[in-house]
């Protein structure tokens, strides 16, 4: 369904200087900065897949999506969506895709939602019959009736997101792009949105590509994830495999009463494992001892009792490794198998 071949995107911008003197200097300077937002990325996505496209802020996620939707033209490389080059045949491509940008609505701000749908019906040339059918379906999964007659600007964030999702699906697109679709939503609404996406995917075999910072979105929806960092693809594979390989670390942070004793603590030695499986770090300034360990090898109580044999603990915090951290770790380790 989607073929991306060695795609790159550069942005060129004039250099800016800080301060009042900088502003004066800026008047006379013409220096340029080139930033490569996407750097030689390739992947292919099959019909009906739901793919999570993740990376830190500014990693190039949105830029890639924008190239696949035809908003941006790639600097290098090619991209095909349902056999069409979005940059060259924008209009045909637009008919095939639906897009939701979490932070920005595609709807008409001052118009009642119902009117937005009337306009979209015309824009996408949807026949009366399929309009009725699709609206019935969307109403069922997104419950749009609740606020169908209200102007878009009066909708809550959750309602607006449902409305936007509905609007993107009215013409039953082959591919659906979701850029942070659950950002800022509460848990219940998040769940509704995820359910709706799942249902749409099942019913129409819609290919879904979603960017998100929310691990819940990924776990609920995605069978496959692609991770990019600084414009480069660093992981492409199943979520399970990623978690097996990298999500095994847990972290315990302990605030300690007798800082002088903490210096020589080495949990790995005490528990008889190697440092890969159990890493001890000590933050002198805050008297915090952090132990990062493999959850298949060790348990939290083991760590705690080992430490408490030596020093007194004031406070404890246990952290599961977050997806963002896994991503960071992958990046620090360089390329991963499967790329």
């Amino acid at each position: 369904m989607i073929e991306v071949n060695h795609i790159s995107k550069d942005f060129v911008s004039p250099k800016k200087y800080p301060g009042l003197r900088g502003a004066i200097k800026g008047l006379f300077s013409n220096e340029k900065i080139v930033k490569t937002a996407v750097d030689d990325i390739s992947f292919s996505i099959e019909k009906g897949e739901i793919v999570g496209y993740i990376g830190s802020n500014g990693a190039g996620k949105s830029t890639t999506i924008k190239m696949m939707t035809g908003i941006l033209n790639p600097t290098k490389g090619t991209c095909r969506v349902a056999g069409i080059d979005p940059g060259k045949r924008r209009r045909e491509n637009a008919q095939n895709i639906g897009v939701v940008f979490g932070q920005r609505t595609q709807l008409w701000w001052d118009l009642p939602l119902s009117e937005s749908f009337t306009i979209l019906k015309e824009i996408y040339d949807v026949s009366d019959e399929s309009y009725r059918e699709q609206m019935a379906f969307l109403n069922r999964v997104l419950a749009l009736e609740e606020f169908f007659d209200r102007p878009v600007r009066t909708l809550s964030l959750g309602q607006r997101m449902r409305a936007d999702l509905g609007a993107a699906l009215l013409h039953n697109p082959k591919v659906l792009y979701l850029d942070e679709p659950t950002i800022g939503l509460d848990l219940v609404v998040k769940d509704n949105i995820r359910e709706a996406i799942k249902e749409i995917n099942e019913k129409y075999q819609t290919t879904v590509i979603l960017t998100t910072h929310d691990i819940g979105d990924i776990e609920e929806l995605c069978s496959r994830i692609i991770i990019i960092d600084e414009g480069k693809k660093i992981y492409d594979g199943s979520l399970d495999k990623l978690k097996d390989t990298y999500g095994t670390k847990r972290k315990v942070s302990m605030e300690i009463r007798q800082p002088y004793k903490a210096k020589n603590l080495d949990l790995a030695k005490m528990l008889d494992v190697n440092t890969q499986e159990c890493l001890t770090e000590y933050d002198k300034e805050n008297s915090i001892l952090t132990v990062t360990f493999d959850k298949h090898k060790l348990q939290v109580p083991q760590i705690l009792s080992a430490v408490m044999e030596q020093v007194e603990i004031k406070d404890v915090q246990i952290q599961e490794t977050e997806l963002a951290q896994i991503v960071k770790e992958i990046y620090n380790h360089g390329a991963v198998e499967g790329v």
Binding site: F11, K66, I71, V99, E122
Partner: protein, 266 residues
Amino acid sequence: MRTCKRYLRLYRVLITQFIKTIMQSKVDFLMGLFGFFFTQIMGIAFLYLVFEQIPSLKGWTLDQLIFIYGFAQIPRGIDHLFTDNVWLVAWRLVLNGDFDRYMLRPMNIFFQVIAEKLQPDALGELLVGTILVVRSLSKGIVITDPLHGILFFVSIFAGALIYTSIKLFFASFAFWIKVSGPFLQLAYETADFAKYPTEIYAKGIRFLITWVIPFAFVAYLPASFFLKSEASGVVIGIECAIAVVFWCIAYAVFNKGTHVYESAGN
């Protein structure tokens, strides 16, 4: 044909919506209208004061100048009414990435841009323009044979197209430099020069507003054709040619611009 119908239908839907929104704030609408109307009236009052001191200006009478002034408002008002959203492209749609939404829909981008907004303030200009032209007609200073009548409407249409082309051309710079508002404003405001007979200006300025940013062909030159029997209709022909050429250039630049559009967030 089918596509054309679809566009027309969509335009109607969009504009109906827009009119509904305006009607929700009638006072705002009337105030804007009044503001424009008033500004134009002041322009006329200025001419009156000047002509208190002199019988004619470089051979033009007050009545003739008022016709030129009023005639100039009509193509300007038409363009203003229908394509005002182009200003937003120049000032912020490209900068903040809102232009994305046009790129995502399976329709002509320029159409989407202009279909999104009607500028009701423009009715103020159209109203003043019409009143002044009607006044001139009643004074009998305008030539009214059928040929001039037809060319009158041709000229207004071509003039509006020249306005739109100049606006679109400069607005399209935004795709390269993010904000092209100041450039657009520079070009747009040269139109003020063309409210008066170009004979009063230095050669350089006359050349600029006749051939580079050809607002003279929107206002003063065609208007003088309707005032003076010895003036040749060729001027309307040139006006049309300029309209077509400028439109093609502006539209090509706009299209090229949408291909280098960078969106926002980087």
